[in-house]
Symmetry: C2
Subunit: 220 residues, 2 copies
């Protein structure tokens, strides 16, 4: 796949050049890993590029599913030393009580910096419903607020790719009006939040469709 856009909504670190997180060695490492992993996201599985079957996913049973898409991405990150599905730390006893035992779930991908100067970096590859992207952003924001995350990235299919996938998938256009509130998170010294849009390299009716599962209302 290729990267269509990469926006920084929050970019702050007193130790970076000009106080920017994106001007730190830690970010450089993350940045390189993510670029490599997106490049390794291919379809069909044995290809060296991502070719999409260009059928609209708007209607039932049509277009492409999403689960298999991210496989190349996550596999690459694991090879580069990232961990998958890392949950937020358990709350203290005090806190657990006030939260009534609830805590946010796992981050898709999680990287602990070897030097431990700053907290880990997380990436959410979001091919769920657009509403789920809102939760993912809130989850990153909470992690930054609490300090167990220093930065996070949300990856969504581009406005050109999304229509070929399951209806109502997250997409950059629909998230844009909300950028203003997410830019407001201001509670920590060190923080990064970015949104990446990724896109297929090619379109062809000669590749198989990405199969759909039987989740949600498909299951009848």
């Amino acid at each position: 796949m290729k990267i269509i856009s990469w926006e920084h909504l929050i970019d702050r670190d007193p130790q970076g050049t000009n106080g920017l997180y994106t001007e730190t060695p830690e970010y450089s490492a993350v940045h390189a890993d993510v670029i490599q992993a997106i490049g390794n996201t291919v379809w069909p599985p044995d290809s060296d590029r991502f070719t999409i079957y260009p059928e609209s996913g708007k209607k039932r049973g049509m277009g492409n599913g999403v689960t298999p898409i991210k496989l190349g991405f996550t596999t690459t990150l694991v090879e580069l030393g990232w961990t998958l599905e890392k949950r937020a730390p358990r709350a203290t006893n005090e806190e657990a009580k006030s939260l009534r035992g609830s805590r946010p779930g796992a981050f898709d991908c999680h990287f602990e910096f070897p030097n431990e100067r700053i907290s880990p970096f997380v990436v959410e590859w979001e091919t769920g419903n657009i509403a789920s992207s809102h939760r993912a952003v809130n989850r990153i924001g909470l992690g930054i607020h609490k300090g167990y995350v220093s930065g996070g990235l949300l990856i969504v299919p581009s406005n050109k790719l999304a229509p070929y996938l399951t209806d109502r998938i997250g997409n950059p256009r629909e998230l844009r009006p909300y950028h203003d509130i997410w830019k407001q998170w201001t509670s920590t010294e060190v923080a990064y939040f970015g949104i990446i849009a990724v896109e297929h390299d090619d379109e062809s009716f000669d590749v198989p469709k990405v199969p759909k599962g039987t989740d949600g209302r498909a299951a009848r």
Copy 2:
């Protein structure tokens, strides 16, 4: 239905007693309307209370659907002068361009104060997926940030009611860890955000289940 909890996450108005939004006449009016409307939320439709068929909604075809539930609530608010499904104002030309034409959708319920001292108040009755609740909260936050809303309420089924409804419905417990970031919205002088949990008055196997899906729309 009855109100199990009503939490104020943001409560600010320089003109209210102690600077609180909840200590203004505008809030008193909204508060009274919402209480009345929740009281008028009943099942079955001709009842004077809300009695739920206490079957778990976890599995397919079991438990209760959600669409018909809010009918008494919204009908009451309309009678009290509220409007339904009010969208955010169209962006200016400049802004629309940067947003690429995207704007957030409608608020469930919307009330314009007769005196127009402060911007309208909105209520989201959320019986969608929990992820959808995150979007609803973000939408209220955006409205407050932009100034076209002065306050908002999210209504979700209580932790006791939710298990009888469609799986993964919004619920107070699962939203709790995120309160900390929502409390951070600090860009405006006047702002209110609250979360209400509502619950059935009674349980009985003698009432019909709230229908799911297409049946639900037929039932009203």
